[in-house]
Amino acid sequence: MNGATSSPDQPAQSMPMWLEWMLSNVQTGLLLLDAQEHIAFANKWVLKRAAMRIEDIQGQALLSVFPVLAGSHFERALRTSIRSGFPSLLSQTLHPSPFPLYADDVQRDCKKALRQSIQILPMGPKDAAQAGQRFTLVQISDVTPNVLREGLLKAHAEKLSDMALIDGLTGVGNRRAFDESLVAEVRAAGRTGKPLGLVMLDIDYFKQFNDHYGHPAGDSCLRTIASLLRRICRRPRDLVARYGGEEMVLVLPETDLNGAVRVAAEILQSVRDLALPHAMSLAGPVVSLSAGVSAFDPVAPLTGAQLLQGADDALYAAKRNGRNRLYVVDSARQEIVPG
């Protein structure tokens, strides 16, 4: 508008001073296009953030001023709106930063594109008839702060939901995480026809360990074993959870009974290799585990409760037969045998 020299129907020509002042100070981007998609007007908000001068862009084709818009969803939406006369909008979520607009702040060096929410408002048929052509107003809002705020809220919500599923002492899943995982994985195994392994583990003579070495040492022992379990069960869908007290449980998707037995055997050996002294254990001089293993066989599906009962029975058998060993549910022969 500052000394614009374009055609006589430029809206800036006869603009009262207060209107010009208002358009310069409104805190949202205003861009007016004529029917040929040439820029008829851009307010100060846009010019500042695009680092452009009105005299350089007025009367120019929108796409030559902002070449990045060529082929964009904005271009499609603009064409559709101009043709139909219906307003449209471009959401930040689907199009973060259509216009090359940058924050006008002190950190000029790190140029961050503004997150934009855009509304395209073509003149309706009556106004267009009066104006002699269909002008279209493009209104651009900076929603960068909203995006940041939502990001923070989302991160917070994720943290809360993680916390609700994690055992505070050991950092592995809690009982709720296990319950949810077992239901979901049994369902998935039934659907995909793939096996599912379940391992229950118990630290041998843990009560005596606590009584002898003290609870802080007991806690530290639990944490050490939890992190060892996590190191061994590292596939993305494997779940390590604390079932209760000194009992841990593993949910191993796409793992059959033999696979689960191999994992359990490796764990028992690795825990012995840690060689954590346990003077009060009747199973050996160091901390050891007992394990019960069961598996979901797609040929003869079980419920989650049956799977859990099997692993628990096997664990009980391992403890009754001297601890520091693993027992397995042999579902074919319907018995519990040493693994």
């Binding site: 969803h73 559709t80 307003p87 449209s88 471009l90 959401s91 979520t93 689907l94 048929p125 994720e158």
Partner: protein, 201 residues
């Protein structure tokens, strides 16, 4: 308004043309094929839409509302059961939307999706029936189907209703598009439809 079979068929054709356009735009937006279909157009009492939603266990809905004025004035409402609106946004945006609530920004993306669909359908109506219309910007509303659809409790008034099926990457979402028309608009629509059918070869 009492539309006969012929008129309803003509409307189904006009609406399908519109949703076809919308499907192209939405496919571009989603980066994968979005298929839309309008299996049927009906005239119903508002109450029966509310009942249909309730039967699907969806008494909470999410709606995109736009007003159109001109020779015909109508409010167009695109409605989804709440859960399905979340899924739709998830499919369009990608998978990182948590599934409990739509944030302000996600609601805006739903407004955009609704806007594309509603404008395409109304453009088709305006072009094919030669009715001049002006549109408003979309507004997202969340709430009970009865309060969104019948804010003044007029459960018995008749509306024009379309079921719209979305199919994206083999997942399906079902929504309803309804038009709230006043008497004068209904009469004009009937007339325009008759003229449209009369002009068919």
């Amino acid at each position: 308004m009492k539309l006969d079979e012929l008129a309803l068929d003509a409307l189904t054709e006009i609406f399908n043309h519109g949703v076809g356009q919308a499907a192209n735009s939405l496919s571009e937006l989603a980066g994968e094929e979005v298929r839309l279909s309008v299996p049927r157009v009906e005239e119903l009492a508002k109450r029966s839409i509310v009942d249909q939603m309730d039967k699907r266990g969806a008494n909470r809905i999410c709606a995109v509302r736009q007003g159109y004025t001109g020779a015909i004035s109508t409010e167009a409402l695109l409605m989804f059961p709440f859960e399905q609106s979340l899924q739709l946004v998830q499919m369009m945006v990608g998978d990182d939307v948590p599934l409990e609530q739509l944030s302000e920004m996600e609601q805006e993306s739903l407004a955009e999706i609704g806007n594309i669909l509603l404008n395409a359908v109304l453009s088709s109506v305006a072009d094919m029936l030669q009715i001049e219309l002006e549109g408003s910007l979309p507004q997202v509303e969340l709430g009970l189907s009865s309060t969104v659809l019948c804010p003044s409790g007029d459960f018995d008034s008749t509306i024009l209703s379309l079921q719209i099926n979305f199919e994206i990457a083999s997942r399906q979402i079902q929504g309803y598009l309804v038009f709230l028309l006043d008497l004068a608009s209904s009469e004009l629509l009937e007339k325009k439809l008759a003229a449209f059918i009369g002009a068919l070869p």
